[in-house]
């Protein structure tokens, strides 16, 4: 299933300047794996050694924080949009 991934400005350099990417997968985690296979440098920026998201990385599916869904195991549908954003803002 093709999903659009929106990248924050801080990650675009590591993605060859792209603001978006397309990847396949049945879950958010699989989609991110698809993203890493296209832009290898992104893996260590987004995920820790255990494969989980780093603690200051937020991922949203259709605008909802995936921690309110099923985390990386959250299923995605064709045409969905995944947004990656830094967690460090506000207050």
């Amino acid at each position: 299933m093709a999903v659009t991934i929106k990248l924050p400005t801080q990650l675009r350099e590591a993605a060859g300047g792209a603001a978006e990417a397309q990847a396949d997968g049945a879950t958010v985690g699989e989609v991110l794996e698809g993203l890493y296979s296209q832009h290898g440098e992104l893996r260590e920026r987004i995920a820790g050694d255990d494969g989980e998201l780093r603690r200051f990385v937020n991922v949203y599916l259709r605008g909802e924080d995936i921690r309110f869904l099923d985390g990386l195991a959250t299923p995605v549908a064709d045409g969905d949009e995944v947004t990656i954003l830094p967690a460090v803002a506000g207050g």
């Binding site: 801080q10 603690r55 200051f56 937020n58 924080d65 947004t83 830094p86 803002a89 506000g90 207050g91």
Partner: protein, 408 residues
């Protein structure tokens, strides 16, 4: 200026003092790193005491090239001895730092003063923010004074007092259909796409956050260059809470005061308590929540500095507690009727947590306690509506005596 770099709190990567807030390597938060103070304590103290009666007197500890020539006078708010409240709570020495005395009636004038001054130094032409309410008014007012256009993003269902008092300054108010975390997410996206816009609590957040240190500097100076034993302060993002401790530590490091940082007690509302929950669970992972509380100024479900706030509370011998909406209303009343300070819901949270700590016996009678009252009750008037009765009478002396009784 003693600031020398932006440094990642997670992996220590350093960056120049630009408009950036996130480490590109690990997404950790950046904060301002300083050179050791170049002056001896006596000289530093003289400079502070000879400085203006505003937060700019602490310029030696702020991340600016130079203090702005003019600005809305912010800071040096009263530190009030609260004997009647202390007595009610059965504790010893209690002081209230009254932040309602700032230009827009909350501590947010501090952080905005620093953020806006730095934004101008960095060449930005527009200021913006994601606000739970108090920041909206502060950004709008300081931008008006500086002559910069301002965009203020708020949850659309914010208290009318906060919307009206921000809009009055001429800022463009953007009401976002969603909670604060949705507003924050939108602003994070917008800030990446709008060059020339300084979002005070997004892309210039490291400078903004430094403003809260001045709460501690003032407290120490007003206590005669001493550090309190305990502090109670509200936690929304955790930025104020962690920076107050940093402020006390700065003064210790500079040799201006002796001792160590106070026991830091954080205050949250039950309806939005991700930091209190992490503290209680013995972890530093703050699971985000969907806020549902009358304390809208503290309604951040995904607090950026949450893990650092938990860690600070733990290592300083403090705590993070949460209180119910009813306790918040009682806290507002308790503070008002014993100190003459009318606070908004966040101050109700702080007062209620202070009462809870006293009740639990966590405060030794010999200790000196400071509570930070960060905002003004006039901005959350609905919370006190219906909590007392107005005696309405005819303009006749007999009516007065009939209704309110003859003198005893």
């Amino acid at each position: 200026m003693p600031a020398e770099a932006l440094k990642c709190k997670e992996c220590s990567t350093t960056y120049p003092l630009e408009a950036r807030y996130v480490c590109e390597r690990c997404f950790g938060p950046l904060e301002v790193a300083y050179k050791p103070p170049g002056s001896d304590p006596a000289e530093l103290k003289r400079r502070i005491q000879a400085g203006p009666s505003t937060l700019w007197r602490y310029a030696d500890f702020l991340p600016l090239e130079r203090v702005p020539r003019t600005s809305l006078p912010t800071g040096l708010t009263p530190l009030i001895r609260a004997d009647r409240l202390a007595e009610r709570l059965g504790i010893g020495e209690l002081w209230i730092k009254n932040e309602t005395a700032n230009p827009t009636h909350s501590f947010k004038d501090r952080v905005v003063s620093i953020a806006l001054a730095r934004a101008v130094e960095l060449g930005f032409d527009t200021v913006a923010c994601a606000s739970t309410g108090n920041l909206a008014g502060a950004v709008a007012a300081h931008a008006a004074y500086a002559g910069l256009p301002a965009y203020v993003f708020i949850p659309a269902d914010l208290e009318p007092e906060k919307i009206l008092s921000a809009g009055a300054y001429g800022a463009q108010i953007v009401g976002v259909r969603g909670n604060y975390d949705a507003v924050n997410r939108l602003c994070t996206e917008v800030s990446g796409e709008r060059e020339g816009w300084a979002f005070v609590n997004v892309n210039v957040r490291p400078y903004y956050a430094e403003g809260s240190k001045t709460l501690a500097y003032e407290t120490a100076e007003q206590l005669g260059w001493e550090i309190p034993d305990r502090v109670v302060a509200p936690i929304a993002s955790g930025s104020l809470f962690t920076k107050v401790a940093r402020g006390f530590q700065d003064f210790v490091d500079a040799g201006l005061v002796r001792g160590e940082i106070p026991a830091m007690h954080g205050a949250q509302a039950d309806g939005c308590s991700p930091v209190a929950q992490a503290f209680a669970a013995g972890t530093d992972v703050c699971r985000p929540v969907k806020p549902d509380t009358i304390a809208k100024s503290l309604a951040i479900g995904d607090p950026a500095d949450g893990p650092y706030a938990v860690d600070l509370a733990r290592r300083s011998g403090g705590s993070v507690d949460a209180v119910s909406d009813d306790e918040i209303r009682s806290g507002i009343r308790l503070l008002a009727e014993t100190t003459g300070i009318f606070t908004e819901t966040a101050g109700g949270v702080t007062t209620a947590v202070l009462a809870k700590l006293a009740e639990r016996g966590e405060i030794d009678p010999g200790e000196r306690v400071v509570a930070y009252i960060t905002g003004d009750g006039l901005k959350t008037l609905d919370c006190v509506r219906g909590t007392f009765e107005v005696a309405e009478i005819e303009p006749r002396f007999e009516a007065f005596e009939e209704t309110l009784g003859a003198p005893v």
